[in-house]
Symmetry: C2
Subunit: 211 residues, 2 copies
DNA sequence: CCCGAAACAGACCGGTTGATCTGTTCGTAA
DNA sequence: TTACGAACAGATCAACCGGTCTGTTTCGGG
């Protein structure tokens, strides 16, 4: 005999939002596989019936988290700042610095939301992999586009914007992985400095070429 | 009533080896949490009694895998080649190329053994984190030492060997993560090219300084 | 006002997971 | 030869996990 079910909120969008918020937070700090659906229900304050009405399986929650949380996190922390910066190099420098500051304030390093899920789920399921790859592609493309804009405006000249963008994303992702293992933002700062030096070299060569 | 237990190999080292081999392989392709102890027992051809005699918990298997498999994998694929190379830059270039070739031959990208476990386990358990951090440190230190040797022999001059080594390790780890998400070795090759260009710049500046 | 569908409540379930436990066999030192 | 601990066999277990199911409540259209 199911319980009487006295109270009820009946706000489907709100329920979905709370489930995704709870799942996104749990997936980022504990990972997908070590997070149980019961934990998500508890953190979201939602019953099993409600959750499974909107998300039939745990996998569907994972896919939704990537599409509606991880993707926009990359958009907000990386793509927008880079797009708004004066140059690609400047945007990258600022973003690295901003994230390092956030890490220092929080005191613990939980890693890049995308990087974490990428490594855990890329091989586990083709659907996950596709979703993750698209976020990586959008990220890398945004940076490459900025480099191309730099080239057009004569600001900087990079021999291969796409390769260089991949290099930046890789450096960041890797630095975050090391930072997570060390529980310290130093690797991020080191990589930021090395990248800055690299862009400075590009700029120097560009200037000497103009003369 | 326990079974009669007719046959038996009675080779503790062999049993340990098989468990660690099976666990290392499973952890690398499926991850720690999605690998069950039953899977490990099956793949290793070992009974529950035998396995738990040598490894009381799953965690002890994980720690042993990092210490006795992942650590030596980093040693063989990265530290030794870099140490034996003429210069740090040359060793890094060769190692990237060798790994990209291996990836292309295998056809699938399962990622860096250390990077995979680092992201999955660094936050899950302090013991795991410590073990992983030490492997990262050894890796980074080996590269930095090579850079310092380069400096001494006048081959190349890097302003900060430690930072540059972190940068190299991060670029590789991140490139491997992207390669895993794309199931393609291209990101690795792109990063290798960008790193090579960076070292070429260093060399150019060193030469012009000597003149 | 009625009714069907969407939204939700919560007990329940089958399969799995990591680990235990009892009992057997092998190596070896006395 | 015997005694004893290490090495191993394999049935078993309690907890848990993802998902189901039945029933209740809410809402909007007719």
């Amino acid at each position: 005999m199911p319980a009487p079910a006295r109270s009820r909120s009946n706000a489907p969008d709100e329920t979905k939002r709370r489930v995704l918020d709870a799942a996104a937070a749990a997936f980022q700090s504990r990972g997908y596989h070590s997070t149980t659906t019961h934990e998500i229900m508890r953190d979201a304050g939602v019953t099993a019936g409600a959750m499974h009405h909107h998300f039939p399986t745990k996998k569907s929650i994972g896919l939704a988290v990537i599409r509606e949380r991880v993707s926009s996190a990359v958009e907000q922390t990386w793509i927008e700042p880079v797009r708004l910066a004066r140059t690609g190099a400047e945007g990258i420098r600022q973003t690295f610095a901003a994230i390092a500051t956030t890490l220092d304030k929080r005191g613990s390093v939980i890693g890049c939301p995308l990087g974490n899920l990428a490594i855990e789920l890329s091989l586990a399921d083709p659907d996950f992999r596709r979703e993750i790859q698209e976020v990586f592609d959008g990220w890398q493309r945004a940076i490459a586009d900025k480099f191309r804009a730099d080239r057009k405006s004569g600001e900087l000249r990079h021999d291969s914007p796409d390769e260089l963008a991949t290099f930046v994303v890789a450096s960041y992702s890797g630095a975050m992985a090391i930072a997570k293992a060390r529980q310290d933002s130093l690797p991020l700062k080191s990589c930021a400095k090395q990248l800055a030096a690299l862009f400075e070299d590009h700029a120097r060569r560009q200037r000497s070429k103009r003369r």
